[in-house]
Amino acid sequence: MEPRLRIFSIMISVCLFLFILELVRRKKLMERYSLLWLVMGATLTTIAAWPRAAQFLSRLFGVLAVSNMVFLAAMLFIVVLCIHFSVRISSLSKEMREVAQEIALLKTGKSVRKEMKS
């Protein structure tokens, strides 16, 4: 890889990794997401610093151009992540609705019957 590109991609990867680290530090990410993004950041930095790894993987999967391999992997990662987010947003919306309804019902001031589910 051209030296300028390599330096540039290493710098970007490291910056991204540091950014993720700072998010974890400030408790903006739950543990499970922290781990995911840290691994992603580490993988990205590894590929930037050591292109041989990506070359090996692309040969393993029979992909001609290394860049295609990297793009393919990145897109798969993003698609799976987006699906996960959709699922998570769906459950969050459901939970929000339940909380909102509970608040509205509490505001009526009438005592709550606890045995709703049985």
């Binding site: 680290l21 974890v24 530090r25 408790k27 739950m30 543990e31 939970e95 606890k114 045995e115």
Partner: protein, 235 residues
């Protein structure tokens, strides 16, 4: 001046155990302030607890043990309790030992007290993978907090006002028992362990196989590392 103690009982689908726990608390201990946190149970846990005279907080859906316990700490904080002791709703903890948990707290020697199965005279009989898991976790956590911690997953704990305030504000989610020890240490809280007898869960086969123990431990190790990275804001 008498200091107020709150007993926090997180419970998820424990309709067959919660009555017994509350009954033992009433007959064998002097503590009358009890909060049961019903973590979205689908059975009659909440109704049974209310019948036994406990204050019950019903979470609208299941949030997990970390959030349930934190709800208890929030209540303790808002109601101005001096100490909060957690007893699990499944009946595994021996309520007569609550006084043992409170002793280091009232003597001002500790901020967080953990009831350790390992330190008790009657050794806890659990499966081999579990015991190995407990030992590995304990050595990891002991190294991190630079003091011996023998039972990192015990939920049988006592906290004083400062610890209550801190936990009400932040309590970890994924592996709360282990991570909270790390966090308490980083906040500068004094952690002390006392021996505590616990009984094996009476109902249900243990689903922890050797493979799952290893998988669980790897995840906990990562969670511990992440907990170490988090920023400590001390007010």
């Amino acid at each position: 001046m008498s200091e107020r103690v709150l007993i926090i009982i997180p419970a998820l689908n424990e309709e067959s155990n919660i009555g017994g726990v509350l009954d033992r608390l009433r007959r064998q201990t002097p503590y009358r302030d009890i909060l049961v946190i019903n973590d979205g149970s689908s059975d009659r846990t909440s109704a049974v607890a209310t019948e036994c005279g406990a204050v019950v907080a019903d979470l609208p859906f299941t949030l997990g043990i970390g959030a349930a316990v934190q709800t208890g700490y929030k209540y303790a904080f808002e109601q101005g309790y001096d100490y909060a002791v957690r007893v699990d709703g499944d009946g595994q903890h021996d309520v007569t030992q609550i006084a043992d948990l409170l002793a280091p707290l009232t003597a001002r020697k500790a901020d967080l007290v953990i009831g350790s199965r390992v330190l008790s005279e009657a050794p806890y009989q659990s499966s081999f993978p579990r015991r190995v898991g407990i030992r590995v976790l304990s050595s990891l956590v002991s190294r991190v907090v630079r003091q011996p911690v023998t039972d990192t997953t015990s939920g049988f704990r006592g906290a004083n006002r400062q610890a209550i305030a801190a936990f009400a504000e932040y309590y970890p989610d994924d592996y709360p028992e282990v991570e909270s020890i790390i966090w308490a240490h980083r906040r500068g809280f004094r952690i002390v362990e006392v021996g505590a007898r616990m009984t094996e869960r009476t109902g249900g086969e243990s689903s922890i196989t050797a493979i799952r123990s290893v998988y669980y431990m790897i995840k906990v190790v990562f969670a511990v590392m992440i907990e170490l990275m988090r920023k400590v804001d001390v007010p």
